[in-house]
């Protein structure tokens, strides 16, 4: 199966700062999703983005499929952005392979 690497593993920000999270895949993917896992464990869909760029409020994501990576941008971070961010993808089998996550802590 594919390998998914996320960086950085941990990130501490002051409220209002911007950040970029990265996800590298070992193979081309048909499906690529970004999730935010809140402190209660719920996985919240952020983006379905196998290629291209999307924006949703303070969040945006870019996937460069030919180079097998995706970036998640968080601007003007808020304390409610804290949690773990996962990227996940599949190559056609539909079973998502997740990275180990980026643990984000936004301090007031």
């Amino acid at each position: 199966g594919i390998q998914v690497e996320q960086s950085p593993p941990d990130l501490i920000l002051q409220e209002g700062a911007n950040s970029t999270l990265r996800c590298n895949f070992s193979d081309s993917v048909n499906n690529l999703q970004w999730f935010h896992q809140n402190p209660w464990g719920q996985l919240i869909n952020l983006f379905y983005i196998p290629s291209g760029t999307k924006q949703n409020g303070r969040l945006s994501a870019t996937t460069v499929a030919t180079e097998r990576y995706s970036l998640l941008y968080i601007s003007s971070s808020q304390t409610t952005d804290s949690g773990v961010y996962f990227c996940a993808g599949h190559t056609g089998r539909r079973a998502l392979t997740f990275g180990s996550g980026t643990r984000l802590q936004v301090q007031p």
């Binding site: 464990g41 869909n45 996940a88 998502l96």
Partner: protein, 115 residues
């Protein structure tokens, strides 16, 4: 509309017991997935249903684990002779596979603790 629901939210059992975990997918979603998440790790795939049939069960760790989806909607994950190593959060997801996007939507999970 309603999201994916899972019951129970928490389950505590003793080693060797049998447990059933239930997943109710988003209405109209044809695909249903089970994942397992251990502390500090990302979710790991267990099994995927397309309709009533298991299309891919390659993630089931051993034959103590079994899942069914008899009517193509609700699914039950069954674990026999539970072991302490089975303790984890079991996540269910569903997706609609008829269009261009097969975005998977996750439920809140069932936290299983085996004593």
């Amino acid at each position: 509309g309603a999201g994916v629901s899972q019951t129970p939210s928490n389950k505590v059992t003793e080693k060797g017991k049998y447990v059933e975990l239930r997943c109710d997918p988003i209405s109209g979603h044809t695909a249903l997935y089970w994942y397992r998440q251990s502390l500090g790790q990302g979710p790991e795939f267990l099994i995927y249903f397309q309709g009533t049939g298991a299309a891919d069960d390659s993630g089931l760790p051993n034959d103590r684990f079994f899942a069914v989806r008899p009517e193509g909607s609700v699914s039950t994950l069954k674990i026999q002779r539970t072991e302490r190593g089975d303790s984890a959060v079991y996540l269910c997801a569903s997706s609609f596979t008829g269009g261009g996007s097969d975005t998977q939507y996750f439920g809140p999970g069932t936290r299983l603790t085996v004593l």
